[in-house]
Structure formats: C-alpha cells, structure tokens
C-alpha cells in the first residue's frame, strides 16, 4: 500500500511537469486566444487540486480546509478565463 502511494506520488510529479511544459508550449506557440486561456486555466486548477489532495494530503483530512484551498484554485483560474474576454 505504501509502495503504491510512493509510485502514485511519482506519477503525480510527472503529470505536473508535463502540464507545465504543455502550458508553456501553448503560451509560446499560440497567441492567447480564448481557447488557450481556458485550457491554461483548467490545467492550473488541475495542478492545484493534485498538490492540495496528494502532496498536502488534504484529500482525507479536514474538509473545511480542503474546501477553502480548492475554492482558491477555482476562483483565480476562473479570473484567467474572464480576463481572456478583456
């Protein structure tokens, strides 16, 4: 069980790095269209959720803290989408 958890952590790290590189590629290759902004905002939310649930270990911890942290990673990525319409 412990070994599975450690392997999971490595997978999550690989996913986080891959998403970072994807975001950079999107930003470098395409002008910030609405679609690109939405994709980046969604991936930022996903990255935040991974760190909150699996690195901070809030998934099975205090539900209020988890809710607050997740709200943060919904509100600000949402503002990225809103800013695409400026």
């Amino acid at each position: 069980m412990k070994a599975i958890k450690l392997i999971k952590l490595e997978w999550f790290l690989a996913a986080l790095i891959a998403i970072t590189l994807l975001n950079t590629f999107l930003g470098e290759q395409f002008s910030s269209t609405t679609l690109v902004c939405i994709l980046i905002a969604l991936t930022v939310t996903y990255k935040g959720f991974i760190v909150i649930d699996h690195f901070m270990e809030l998934k099975h911890a205090n539900k209020n803290l988890r809710f607050l942290m997740k709200c943060y990673f919904v509100i600000f990525p949402s503002l990225i989408i809103v800013s695409a319409f400026y």
Binding site: K2, K5, L6, L9, E10, F12, L13, L16, I17, T20, L21, N23, T24, L26, G27, E28, S31, S32, C37, I40, V44, K47, G48, V51, I52, H54, F55, M56, E57, L58, H60, A61, N62, K63, N64, L65, L68, M69, Y72, F73, F76, P77, L79, I80, V82, S83, Y86
Partner: protein, 221 residues
C-alpha cells in the same frame, strides 16, 4: 497519617493550579468545524492561520494583476514576451520537485525512517536554493535587458509578485534547516511529527502560489 494525606492533597491541588486542564475548543465555532467532525488538520492550527493569511496576501496580488491587466491589456500582452521563459519553466519544475521531496520526507517519517526523511529534506532544501539562484539570475538578466519595476505596469506587478514569492521561498528554506536540526535532535517520530508536517504544508502552499504566478506572468499573453 492524616497530615500526610493533607500534604498529598494540597500538593495535588497545587499541581492542578499550575497546569489547568486545557480546553481544546474555544466554544465559539460551530461544532461542524471541529476536528472530530471535519477531519484531521495536517500540521497544526497556527500554521494554517499563517497559510490562510499568506493566501489572502497573494490573493490581493492576483486581484491587482487582473485589475491592471484590464486597464493595460497591451502592456500585459507584450510583458511576458520580454521575460526569460525558460528560467520560469525551470523554477516551476524545481518547485514541483521540491514539493515531491517534501511529500516523500513525510512518508518516511511516518515509518520512522529518519535517515531517508532527512535525505529528502536536504533535497527539498537544495531545490529551494536552486530556485533562489535561478530567480536571482533572472532578476539580474532583466536588469541587463533594461527592465525594472518602474518599466511599466506589467513589470511592477511582476516584481511585486515574484519578489514576494522569492522571500517566502527564502524563509521556508531556512525553516527546512531548522526542521532538519530538530529531526536530528529526535523531535520527530512516526508518532509525533506535527512540526515537520506543518513545514510540509507551508512548503506546498508556496508551491501552489507559484503554480498560479507562473501562467500569469510567463504564459498568458
């Protein structure tokens, strides 16, 4: 015999006065917020007060960013193109990896493997130092290109956010050294590791803030 009992009784009362029973609840919050019903608090309550305060501080920076971007869309569209994106990507990978090392350190203290726990803490500390070196180099590179906090609104927000984050990584790296010192003194074990866990959640919070800062200043155009 009777005087001996009186002495014992008075000594007990004196000790009771010195260490009054601790009331874990202030009784001012709803019961649903209690640790029993809402779940375990990783680390301790004071570190979460600190984390939520830091999140509020960064939230103000992010709001300032979006307001400035609303008023100066062209400057914010050009701004990221003047930055050294590769250094931003490198720092993101370094911080994500440091979070991974911190999570591994927590895994090993829970099985009382203090040697591996300390090893991963040193790795996390190294990542913090690498981040600080890369960031310093980036600030220097910006200066060589002629950019400063006064260049335009984008660079003002950029320096405000990234320098603040830089300071947080700096003092959290010092905190890792303190935790390593305490670990060596035997302060943490599989049973009691709340101090180490408090540092771990604080470190992850710093990583989370960079996850938001990175796309705002390096990617979105």
């Amino acid at each position: 015999m009777s005087s001996h009992l009186v002495e014992v009784d008075s000594a007990k009362r004196f000790n009771d006065m010195k260490t009054p029973p601790i009331n874990p609840s202030l009784g001012i919050f709803p019961k649903s917020w209690s640790e029993e019903s809402a779940g375990r608090i990783p680390g301790n309550i004071p570190i979460w007060v600190g984390i939520l305060s830091e999140l509020t501080e960064f939230a103000l920076f992010f709001v300032a960013y979006f307001i400035a971007k609303f008023y100066y869309p062209d400057i914010f569209s050009q701004g990221p193109q003047n930055l050294h994106t590769s250094l931003g990507v490198a720092n993101t990978i370094v911080l994500l990896t440091s979070s991974y090392f911190m999570a591994k350190a927590m895994s090993f203290i829970r099985i009382n493997d203090k040697v591996k726990c300390e090893g991963y803490l040193w790795l996390a500390f190294s990542c913090g130092c690498i981040y600080l070196i890369i960031k310093t180099w980036e600030f220097h590179w910006n200066t060589l290109q002629g950019f400063s906090a006064n260049t335009n609104e984008f660079f003002t927000v950029y320096y405000y956010m990234t320098f603040n984050h830089f300071i947080h990584v700096g003092w959290a790296s010092c905190a890792i050294l303190w935790v390593i010192f305490r670990l060596r003194r035997g302060a943490y074990s599989a049973q009691e590791n709340s101090g180490l866990e408090a540092l771990a959640v604080y470190w992850h919070m710093i990583d989370l803030m960079w996850i938001l800062i990175f796309p705002l200043v390096y990617v979105l155009r």
